[in-house]
Symmetry: C2
Subunit: 360 residues, 2 copies
């Protein structure tokens, strides 16, 4: 594998230009590029510019609307449902989180369910919008079905991530941002490229047998929920994924379970939808709605120090504070640039040719 290093600015300009070519407004193209770049900066390479050509292919198939009329269709003082009008989730989710934050500013908390959207990038981006306002941020989304619930031999749930983010004082925010599957598809792809087996407990084959073959998903198998099997709590991973699906889609009027449209353009969405597009759920709570912000932050700092300094099994492996590795990546990559794997660079330059814009 070869990596080519790019500055944040180069990748941002390229990404902005691609979204402009799709017909996005300047404002939307800037925002969508920011969500993808934030992912690359934070070391979550699977959710950044590597996905750009995927968004474009969905737009070509008219499954993404580059000029959506995003609007609130139902609300109370602290709750709302947003119709994303088939827009980029990268734009729809920040719109919804902005509403949640506005409601929280007025009433202490705000909660927005979203329907008729598309892939929203990293969950952490949206939750961090709240953290920047000294609020607790919550974000989740459903996704196309790849995961079999406990006992099932059918893909009924996405990797359905949930994110909780908390502002700290002298430390970076604590950000729990996790897929509810035992392992996300990106880890299978790494094993495929390296031609290596994967650990037991990540996938089952199409008969429902445990497998260590990283290609199992392509062969009709399924990912397993966090917990892997019943003995190890897979019913809990399944329950969390179900929670994300219900909050994101049953509550908003989006598609849920096996009806969630696939992110890949070569698979058609189900012909019998039960809702509109995919769904998200976003929330913000003012920290000072519960106690003075300075008190919360100093105790969260103490929490962080306690966990960072815990006795470990291997003295070379410290306890990791959720969000800390991504924060470290962000500081480093802002300085030294973002390494992009050669196959992604090739893909992006082919995209540039197709759209008639300059290569990376």
């Amino acid at each position: 594998m070869t990596f080519i290093n790019f500055t944040e600015k180069t990748l941002r300009t390229f990404t902005f230009t691609v979204f402009k070519k799709m017909g996005c407004t300047d404002e939307h193209a800037t925002l969508a590029a920011d969500v993808l770049l934030r992912s690359d900066l934070r070391g979550i390479d699977s959710h950044g510019v590597a996905r750009l050509s995927g968004y474009v292919r969905l737009w070509e198939k008219k499954r993404i609307n580059a000029t959506p009329n995003i609007k609130v269709v139902h609300e109370t003082p602290t709750t709302a449902t947003v119709d994303g009008d088939s827009g980029l989730g990268l734009v729809v989710a920040p719109f919804a989180m902005t509403i949640a934050i506005e409601k929280a500013e007025k009433y202490g908390s705000g909660w927005v369910a979203v329907k008729n959207s598309n892939h929203f990038g990293i969950a952490g981006y949206h939750a961090l919008m709240a953290v920047e306002k000294d609020m607790i941020g919550i974000s989740m989304t459903n996704a196309s079905p790849l995961v079999a619930p406990t006992y099932a031999n059918e893909r009924l749930l996405g990797t359905n991530p949930m994110c909780y983010a908390f502002p700290a004082g002298k430390y970076p925010p604590v950000i729990v941002d996790m897929a509810t599957a035992a392992a996300a598809n990106g880890k299978l792809e790494i094993a495929q490229r390296a031609n290596k087996d994967i650990p037991d407990g990540w996938v089952q084959d199409k008969e429902g047998n445990n497998s260590t073959n990283p290609n199992e998903l392509k062969n009709g198998g399924s990912l397993l929920p966090l917990g892997s099997d019943k003995d190890h709590g897979s019913h809990k991973g399944y329950g969390l994924s179900a929670t994300v699906d219900i909050l994101s889609a049953v509550l908003s009027g989006a598609n849920y379970g096996p009806w969630v449209p696939p992110f890949v353009s070569f698979l058609e969405p189900p012909s019998d939808p039960v809702g509109e597009g995919i769904g998200h759920f976003l929330g913000a709570m003012r920290v000072d709605g519960f106690r003075p912000t300075a008190d919360f932050k100093s105790h969260l700092d103490n929490w962080i120090e306690t966990f960072k300094n815990a006795k470990t099994v291997d003295p070379n492996k410290k306890v990791i504070i959720p969000g800390e590795p991504e924060y470290a990546f962000e500081q480093e990559r802002k300085q030294s640039g973002i390494p992009i794997i050669d196959v992604v660079v090739k893909d992006l330059n082919e995209l540039a040719d197709k759209l008639g814009i300059a290569h990376l």
Copy 2:
């Protein structure tokens, strides 16, 4: 093992009488008994009357206040912090959930963090209070440290349960109510009694090695987070447990991490508390704050049917809807009574002797 069958009424009267002997008001004793009975009815035997003598021992040590002045100490229209005044969590948590529900009735949602409380029974009880009002109920609590975060060789987190509950139409509510550890302590106790090994991935010994010995926790070992090890996502279980700890305690002003006071009376609380008592976090969101309740319920019914009817690996094992087994227990035990294991009956009758009340 021998079980003795009791009617719900017999157990309820006995439990009420015990709480009255502690000095609780009629109202509090009725409520606390209801929380414990609901657990036994729902088949969660570990959290019902089996814990009654534990509550009494904490009261004897003056760590539970039978006549608390429970009050709101901080609030906005949709958020609040409650001081439980060292009361029974069985009483403090319903008080807090009632406030969350009142706020949701007015503003769409309500969120209450609780400090200075004690063990609150099953998380599901409190979340179901919201469901009965056609709201989504959320409840969580921190607990005394038994779980080692990923890489740690120290107990820093409780089994910290989280619960999300959703009202359905023709089906029972969907209730995801789960400890964030790979397996709760109750499962270890069952293996101890049966003199059997436990699966790999539930505990580590005091050196941090994987172990299948159900007595490991007594020997200085730790429970493992949901996911069991890093390869299988234990950092996610740790992240969820951290989320519960932060929302329940860092946000409310309760003790967190290793400072959470133990539920057992023979262990003293840490002498350097960072907050007051243990913490909970409770929330309620009106379903009709997002879409008409009837629409939500009919789609949740469709979700339930889809998952119930999924193709399974073993035709004899159906996909289980979260909350369904507990609902089935409740229907059955209301009719046929509640089986209590003989050692618990003996313990309760010794408690009766101590308090000078009639045996079970």
